[in-house]
């Protein structure tokens, strides 16, 4: 039994080989590069939010998914909007928003509480809902989105359509009652759902050993009569491959899948959290497994990327972020009286 937070998390890290292999995932060259693009776009957008926050331009909380980009991007890449898929993302999943079709402009308008964000300033930070893009934003109560995700999936099934719903939960959130009720319901009614547990070792300051007593959260799948997978959440290809199989299974009417993607939360729960309860050695250990750097190295090794094309990609990403921030900063804030609007639908 691990005695300390660090031991526990290092034990997690030791379970994986942390090698990105070149198994055939059915991906073309452009897919390999898109995966990198979305991860870099995510990392760059979040780094920019940190800057804006420190400049006092972002009010309220800032919640980032640094170090978890492979999970959010690899998973959402397995979805297909045109097949009716829907995304119910959580806190660390900006990568999923972008991969599934959200734009940096919208992200910055949301964080800068602009009137033209899809939430119109009514909700903040990563609670970003954009129903037109079939992205249903989270509420703060963790695991509460699971039953609605199941309901949306059920609606797809009732219509005899082929869409799949992807939802996420954390190692902390997975302990809340709705995780159980929702996943059980999905299993019984064979809802086309893929539920990804993003196990990043901590829930705010609480380490996993104080959060649950089982070895692997993915083992809970047995209890629900569904398939469960325990994977390296920092390997974007492994995440993609596992999620794609789960999505195909759901599309074929075989019901939900539970996937536990293991990674490390590299920054605090939020930017006002100094993260001091995480031992430095632990962060250093996981930093060597950075999902973006490892994947980049893999692509360079395979010749899918060159140092030049990497530079081009990086400046393209920075340019996009610059433009998006400028757009958001030039957008108006909501009119005060609109606070009273929209409580009820017509």
């Amino acid at each position: 039994m691990p005695q300390s937070n660090a031991e526990n998390a290092l034990a997690e890290a030791a379970k994986f080989a942390f090698k990105i292999d070149d198994r055939d995932y059915g991906l073309k060259k452009e897919d390999y590069l898109k995966l990198l693009y979305f991860m870099k776009l995510t990392r760059s957008a979040e780094n920019r939010i940190i800057k804006l926050y420190r400049q006092g331009k972002v009010v309220g909380g800032v919640y980032l998914g640094t170090g978890m980009e492979a999970t959010s991007v690899g998973s959402a890449y397995a979805l297909d909007f045109n097949k009716g898929d829907a995304l119910f993302p959580l806190i660390r999943d900006l990568g999923a928003h972008f991969t599934f079709g959200q734009t940096p402009r919208v992200y910055f308008c949301q964080y800068l509480n602009r009137a033209n964000s899809p939430t119109r300033g009514k909700d903040g930070n990563i609670h970003l809902s954009d129903p037109g893009k079939r992205i249903i934003g989270m509420i703060s109560h963790l695991s509460a989105m699971i039953p609605p995700a199941v309901g949306w999936a059920l609606a797809i099934k009732l219509r005899r359509q082929r869409g799949v719903v992807m939802n996420y939960i954390g190692n902390g959130g997975a302990q809340v009652g709705d995780f159980h009720e929702g996943l059980n319901f999905a299993a019984v009614h064979k809802a086309p759902l893929v539920l990804i547990i993003e196990n990043n070792q901590y829930a705010y300051s609480t380490p996993n050993r104080l959060q649950y007593a089982c070895e692997r959260l993915s083992d809970r799948a047995i209890g629900y009569g569904i398939a469960g997978f325990h994977i390296d959440g920092t390997n974007v290809l492994e995440v993609y491959g596992t999620c794609r199989r789960a999505v195909e299974r759901a599309r074929a009417g075989e019901g939900p899948t539970l996937i536990e993607a293991v990674s490390m939360r590299m920054r605090g729960h939020s930017e006002h959290d100094d993260h001091k309860y995480v031992p430095k050695e632990l962060l250093e250990e996981w930093a060597r497994r950075d999902p973006i750097e490892r994947y980049q190295a893999f692509l360079l090794e395979k010749g899918l990327l060159t140092p030049e094309s990497l530079k081009t990609l990086e400046s393209q990403v920075e340019g996009e972020i610059d433009e998006a921030v400028q757009f958001a900063e030039n957008s108006p804030e909501p009119e005060p009286h609109t606070a009273a609007e929209g409580v009820y639908a017509d």
């Binding site: 829907a86 899809p118 939430t119 119109r120 009514k122 909700d123 609670h127 809902s129 129903p131 249903i136 934003g137 509420i139 109560h141 509460a144 989105m145 699971i146 039953p147 609605p148 995700a149 199941v150 309901g151 949306w152 999936a153 059920l154 609606a155 797809i156 009732l158 009652g177 709705d178 009720e181 929702g182 059980n184 319901f185 019984v188 009614h189 929209g342 409580v343 009820y344 639908a345 017509d346």
Partner: protein, 324 residues
Amino acid sequence: MAVITYIQAITDALREEMHRDKSVFLLGEDIGQYGGAFRVTQGFLQEFGAERVMDTPLSESAIIGVAAGAAMAGFRPVAEMQFMDFITVGFNQIVNICAKMHYRAGLKVPLVIRGPSGGNVHGGPFHSQNPEAWFVRVPGLKVVAPSTPYDAKGLLKAGIRDNNPVLYFEHKYLYRRIKEEVPEEDFIVPIGRGEIKRSGKDVTVITYAAMVHVALEAAEELSREGVEVEVVDLRSLLPYDKELILDSVRRCSRVLLLHEDTLTGGLAGEWAGYIGENAFEDLDAPIKRLASLDTPVPYAPPLEEYFLPNKEKVLKALRELLAY
């Protein structure tokens, strides 16, 4: 026109709406195979099939949350709580998802949560509660509580057709005790509109659900003494008919606010505040409230009788108002 019971009116409304609109489906515990704990959905599984009459696991939070997700995706689910006491298990789904999705994301949640509430049936603390006040204070929800078969049918239809989450509180005491003629043609009772169930002039009783009938009995008795009591049935609790309340108070000048829910934090406080702000000059006596005791609902009949409002207590309160 047929004479039907309150519970039959609910069954009829569900059946008619399910025929009228294919996006309406039912989910809840024991509603399909068993026909519902109170038989509301008897025969529905055979008539509509298992996809539209869904027997769910025992999971009130998931039942409500799944209904919310299906509603967001374009269906019009009607989720049953076997007893409205169990709605608390899904409290978070209601107040933080159903109630706030439209405000913060522009997504409508056209669902109905319905079930039997109320006491006087020897149900004890967990099968007799009146949970409505917990929800009336949540912007984004609508809350209704019919007292008659006509209103039960019309309000359920209105709730199902409403694009917002509607909590539909049936009163189980009224299920088979109240009968009346109800039209077979399609009709709705608009949400937000109350109704004067008995016209009067000397004092008015503002109330809803089972207490409407208690108030009417008390009014009958006082009428024999030459006092005419007005009985206003709110029918909707959120939004509630403020105009009707003010109109009644202005004409009658003395008001008793009556509900079966417990006193402190019960809806009478809200109505009293509104009346105090808007009709102070029209009052000839202080506002009076009558409600159940501030305790959990007790089980033993002598205890529950002591707990609940009844005709004698209403008469006493009315006489005090009239004597002021």
